[in-house]
Symmetry: C2
Subunit: 557 residues, 2 copies
């Protein structure tokens, strides 16, 4: 059965009213804003009340670099939550919400899989509670206000060649990466080069995920640098006097969404930046709410630990004010063999040599996470082709690195399949920890980038290309030289070359552009060929989708 079939079969019989899910974690119905019977936003009154409560423990789920063989990080996150619930622990999950672009393309959803899913999966993967749409509206409203300002006299003296605020759609649309707008003569605006990002790459998504309340949201929006004037001075949203309008469009989107797993574990699904082109973590408000509502909050960060976890630990943690108590790294035997050079079609054959070679990728991520001073557990997401010898070898290899590797079968068995992992995570939560940030918050941008590249990616150094060199000067001149950095990099490799599997060494990472995100509070460093607007594949998933006369969806994945 496909994920959507499992979800639909179980949703019909098992899904509980969201008010019942809320009640079991002490949320009153008056603290919810319901979107149909199975989805709700947690309102600001609830969040204020919860702020008085103590935090639970925090588990971060991350993974090796993704491969076409599949890892299943969201699935393990969901299954771990369900398993902890089966052990009578008060576990609450915090996930990112999916983006429509990849859903229509080929990625599949971000709601887990099999018997470890959050539901209603169709709603969550499509419009959900409208957060992505509110963001898209806000991004493009701001863009329209910028171009209108120029058209109406340009009092702020904005240089149309130096606008860095891009439009956005929650769609994979390569044709919008580079566009020329404002054509058609004087009444149709000022012609200029522009481009669209996918919504999840927009600074407003990062802001939504980092803001702690509406006041903070507004302060962050006001600081957004939309571009530069003809004197090369930054122009902000505050200068345009539209902070209130943009914040107004996001006031509801800022509230975390509550849903449930197939086993009724509460899940806060909120905010969805990709970790390859953005900061990759669900919202501070969702994670905080999970920490207040549960004794154990389980959250994930996007793609591999080089991207999502690094950004979680270096960008999100300082804002969250809470460090993780344990880190789970998800891997599969298949994916490690792929990292060891085995072709996709040969992954079902036992291959201990390839497994050991490919283990280098997992080993590097283990070392990286250990470096932060947090106990690490490896979750081996089971495939039927895994052999006992392979599993034994992987457990041995992990043991040598000082971590336990635990098999899970949550896709097939739900929480039951994650009990061993849950026990190991509970043991990790009891271990001593001493969180160590990767870099000094006051270090300059180049130092921070070099630290990430050498310590986390395992490379030799970072190299700035021409444009980025000039941008770095401008950034330092503007006094932004001490901000954290958010690297946009391929998810497929520890390096900036998607084809370099395993644990490459002695490579350089090329920074071709630096984009200041003053509202988010970091500088984005664009590396390699990473694109902030994906394209659709030759046969988009959209070709298989349908809806019946009574509204039943098929072909989502």
């Amino acid at each position: 059965m496909s994920d959507i079939q499992i979800a639909q079969e179980n949703e019909a019989h098992e899904i509980k009213p969201i008010t019942a899910i809320a009640e079991q974690i002490g949320l009153e119905t008056a603290e919810l804003e319901q979107y149909g019977p199975y989805k709700a936003k947690v309102n600001f009154k609830a969040i204020q009340r919860l702020n008085q409560q103590a935090d639970g423990q925090l588990v971060l789920v991350t993974s090796i670099n993704p491969t076409p063989a599949g890892e299943g990080k969201s699935t393990v996150t969901v299954g771990l939550g369900d398993a902890l619930r089966q052990l009578d622990k008060s576990a609450v999950i915090a996930l990112r919400e999916p983006s429509l672009g990849p859903v229509m393309g080929m990625k599949g959803g971000a709601t887990g899989g099999g018997y470890a899913q959050v539901v209603p999966m169709e709603d969550i993967n499509l419009h959900f509670t409208g957060d992505m749409h509110a963001l898209t509206s806000a991004v493009n409203t701001l863009a329209a206000l910028i171009d209108n300002h120029i058209q109406q006299g340009n009092v702020l003296n904005i240089d149309p060649r130096r606008i860095i605020w891009k439009r956005a759609l929650d769609i994979n649309d390569r044709a919008l990466r580079q566009v020329v707008i404002g054509l058609g003569g004087p009444v149709q605006g000022m012609p200029r080069q522009d481009g669209f990002d996918i919504t999840v790459a927009s600074e407003l998504m990062a802001i939504l995920c980092l803001a702690t309340d509406i006041t903070d949201l507004k302060a962050r929006i006001s600081r957004i640098v939309i571009g530069y004037n003809f004197d090369r001075q930054p122009v902000t949203v505050a200068d345009l006097k539209v902070t209130g309008a943009i914040a107004m469009l996001l006031k509801d989107a800022l509230k975390p969404n509550l849903v449930q797993t197939l086993e009724h574990t509460p899940a806060l699904v909120h905010g969805g930046p990709f970790a390859n082109i953005a900061h990759g973590c669900n919202s501070i408000l969702a994670t905080q709410t999970a920490l207040k509502l549960g004794d154990i909050a389980i959250t994930e960060a996007g793609f591999g630990a080089d991207l999502g976890a690094e950004k979680f630990l270096d960008i999100k943690v300082p804002q969250l004010g809470k460090t993780p108590d344990a880190i789970v790294i998800v891997a599969t035997i298949r994916a490690l063999k792929y990292n060891g050079g085995v072709a996709l079609t040969d992954l079902t054959t036992e291959n201990l040599g390839a497994l050991e070679t490919g283990f280098s990728n997992l080993a590097k991520h283990i070392a990286n996470m250990q470096r932060y001073g947090v106990p690490v557990v490896v979750a081996v997401n089971e495939f039927t082709s895994d052999t006992e010898a392979e599993i034994n070898l992987l457990q041995e290899l992990c043991e040598q690195k000082g971590v336990k590797a635990v098999e899970t079968s949550v896709w097939a068995n739900g929480g039951q399949g994650g009990l061993a992992l849950a026990h190991e995570v509970l043991a990790a939560l009891d271990q001593p920890k001493d969180f160590q940030p990767l870099y000094d918050a006051q270090a300059d941008i180049k130092t921070k980038l070099n630290t990430i590249v050498t310590e986390i990616y395992g490379g030799r150094e970072v190299v700035f290309e021409g444009k980025a060199i000039n941008q770095l000067k401008q950034i330092e001149k503007n006094g932004w030289g001490q901000l954290p950095v958010c690297i946009a990099k391929t998810q497929y490799s520890l390096s900036d070359n998607p084809k370099a599997l395993g644990a490459p060494t002695d490579f350089t990472v090329h920074v071709r552009e630096l984009i200041p995100k003053l509202g988010a509070g970091f500088i984005v460093a664009m590396t390699g060929a990473v694109l902030t607007m994906p394209g659709l594949p030759k046969k988009p998933a959209a070709l298989n989708m349908d809806v019946t006369a009574d509204g039943q969806i098929s072909g989502l994945f």
Copy 2:
């Protein structure tokens, strides 16, 4: 007090749970999909059940050509519903839902005003239940799939110069009217000229408003002509094989939204094409649902009766299968004096001469509506500056045309201020009627256009410009020559010249472009300088908007 202040004050004290509103018209809670406590979608099960019931009577509210002096058509529609409820009539309102573009620009909302509003007005005017966002997603997903098809080999042989499917945003953004996309080299798509419409102008909005169920929605989507191949043959969504994906994105948006007025009259607010650039009527499903749920359904059509009402009567009525039982034309003394040549600043001064001159506009709309064989009532939306002499004169002038003109003060007094109007409407509903369509459904496009221009607008004839002449040939060749026509024209005049007030005669209307909308089932004729993507004004309303720390919105209007 501003509209938003009145709404907020009353919402806090008076608004009822939407389940209670539903109950009073016989809708069960299980037939609703709630979006927070005060908004709900009516599900398809309810619509199927209601289809077995008899229709109530239908009142269409329209108006004179809009002026900067203000008319208040939505306000009167809401107030009339409230007044009928006060007279113990089972009245249900059906309105269009607002578009964010004009909200951010200058139009204000479409939720009525003063004490005649639908609430929660902030939600309805912003993201509401996400219908506009679902449409925007669907429009742009289809566009991305078209460009991706070309990029991935173009099996359908689509001519990039002849794509007529435009992208859309629910934003006033003139810089996106004419753009070039796909720049940056072979991996970034095929460069071509393109443009964005405002979402409400998109054919998908028209389809959403005309579809009777998901099956019809899919059939209409499959028929959309997205452009032509190199052999000049039309290419449809069915050819692209993405009907299911696009319909899937709209499955929830298709369900009508139920809200309430400040006086708890049920209101179905659903679908929102503008009448100047699109067909201007709320959805068939909303109007049908109102007809089933109430003994009297009150609905409005956009802008003046030359646009909204004509399209209601000639495009929507044949699909709805129900003709109106009475038509209310909204006018104000101020707006008629403006039509009579008085400057905006002098409208508070009594001026009987100007009123009589400006009455020509109302007189033409009265005659037009009478032509359809439906009883007509004029609602005079009261302003404090109206003098008794002016009111008496207007009533006399209307009497000469065979219609009653009734003063209403619903902005200030809610339903109480609309009781006289309600009595007059009830009298009209008792009159005999004999609905006469404007044109023969089998007539050709030029004949239909000429009929509208001469009979409704009062002009001499329609003139096709070069491009439109060729397009007409193509349309006839493709067998679409008998479709209804939807004219895009300025709302400010009966002619295609926005400055020609009153009732101009002997003018020609220039058709510069014909756009086939096979899914909607009509041909759009673009006239004059009408734009399908509005721009923002020098001081956009967005500059005044704000949201407080606890989520209270201000400055909406």
